[in-house]
Symmetry: D2
Subunit: 161 residues, 4 copies
Amino acid sequence: MKITFIQTGGTIDKDYPHTTKGWAFEFGEPATNRILEKLDPSFEYNVITSCQKDSLEITDNDRQKLTDIINHQTGSKFIVTHGTDTMIETAEFLSKQIKNKLIVITGAMRPERFRNSDAETNIGCAIATANLMENGIFIAMHGIVKDYNEIERNLETGKFY
Amino acid sequence: MKITFIQTGGTIDKDYPHTTKGWAFEFGEPATNRILEKLDPSFEYNVITSCQKDSLEITDNDRQKLTDIINHQTGSKFIVTHGTDTMIETAEFLSKQIKNKLIVITGAMRPERFRNSDAETNIGCAIATANLMENGIFIAMHGIVKDYNEIERNLETGKFY
Amino acid sequence: MKITFIQTGGTIDKDYPHTTKGWAFEFGEPATNRILEKLDPSFEYNVITSCQKDSLEITDNDRQKLTDIINHQTGSKFIVTHGTDTMIETAEFLSKQIKNKLIVITGAMRPERFRNSDAETNIGCAIATANLMENGIFIAMHGIVKDYNEIERNLETGKFY
Amino acid sequence: MKITFIQTGGTIDKDYPHTTKGWAFEFGEPATNRILEKLDPSFEYNVITSCQKDSLEITDNDRQKLTDIINHQTGSKFIVTHGTDTMIETAEFLSKQIKNKLIVITGAMRPERFRNSDAETNIGCAIATANLMENGIFIAMHGIVKDYNEIERNLETGKFY
């Protein structure tokens, strides 16, 4: 099995600013690299950056670039790390142009850099989905893994169900 | 969805001894509790301790106790945390007396207490398997999720494939 | 020995926002509480919040409040956690109204919530200073502990010397 | 300022065994390296390994080797990481052959590899002592920094006072 991990930004990859007097977060290298180093996985993988954006700022141009990357990679299994606010919109966009591939969209409620992050468990959920499913577009958050058509989000708490 | 997590011991739950002059590890409370607190899952769950043993010391009596716990719980989805050395033996034992339930056996190569542990990613793999599969006995380690009949282990490196 | 820890905000106490769609950091409870829990210290202590501000936003009113807290506590040893940008200004302000007390100002370049934070080592530096010195106002950052009159900061890199 | 860090073993440097079926800890590279990387200190330093032993197994030969290393280094400030059970004995041994140098002995109650370790705070205490003192042999544990002649240990709880 081979999995291609694609970074688009979002909370999971937020890092502390390197400049003094910085206030907001900055995006760093994919957290996936650090998680996979600890896992020492038995599957093959590569890690690609498509964009580094807060998910409220992701545009259809960004989604088209992501689509093109997925359609041009040789493998059929993809884990996309993404901000939580527009995961479902990105899944819908991808569904129109991608067939016969398995895509799992995941992310985190707190950056992987944080000691109390949910990032590792979410990436684990995505990896198992890549093992068990052959095609479709899934979202994995809060310990729930569902087809993007079936998952729902509570907009007040931010939790997926 | 409801998942019952069952602790049997193994590397994932090894903690530093509380006595002075201690050398070997001691088993602590289930690491699953700490991981689930960070995840804030949308599914229901409970956490049970069956035993707290290194997996080389798990006996058929321990496996029978685990079987009985699973058969007497009301839910149908179980994640068993277990030492890595006899995961496959325990899966075989469970397979003979348990039907129509979904069991995922997982653990870790380094204790969850360690900063560089693989525990969270492994538990994530197990949780996604509980989402996606209806019955069977699976093992989730090193990013690989397979039926216990199909997974293999390299005895030199300790890695599952 | 008794040490009073006083929170004023700054990078050390920045936490991830709890609201969805949050971008900037929020201040959380004092990181000192979490560090002292791990240390299990043999000295007595209490932890007080004076304000929760980025150090560029700390005003002379905030500094007066901090001064008053220190002058009204019964003990003579204080560790003030503070943003790095105006540590020296706050030390100068305190020096004019506080006599015969030992104050150490410290903080962090990355929040204590981050896995790769310097917060614990800095708090350790401040604690040792409280052990060894009887009075004066010290700053502890980047492994350097000096009287506030003697420490210097490289404004480009943010490092204290 | 230059500080020489010397590893002798002890809890602070215990790591999980790399072999499968391992039960006891193994000593790894000095935890000091990882702590200093996060601190990004403004002082010069080097890190040396004298031995890698549980402190109950340290012999007078090991202590002589440590003494010789300290006496042959060019700097005058040393931080020795050491198991907690014989810190005071090692300090006494060093005191007989070393003059006009500043030595701080520290360690940890839980390995630095653990998320809930006290190692970073202890190393911070030692670093500040190296800043503030010119000579003598100090022990830094549990947030207490004292001359080795003055520190005491509760043998039941393991805590220094």
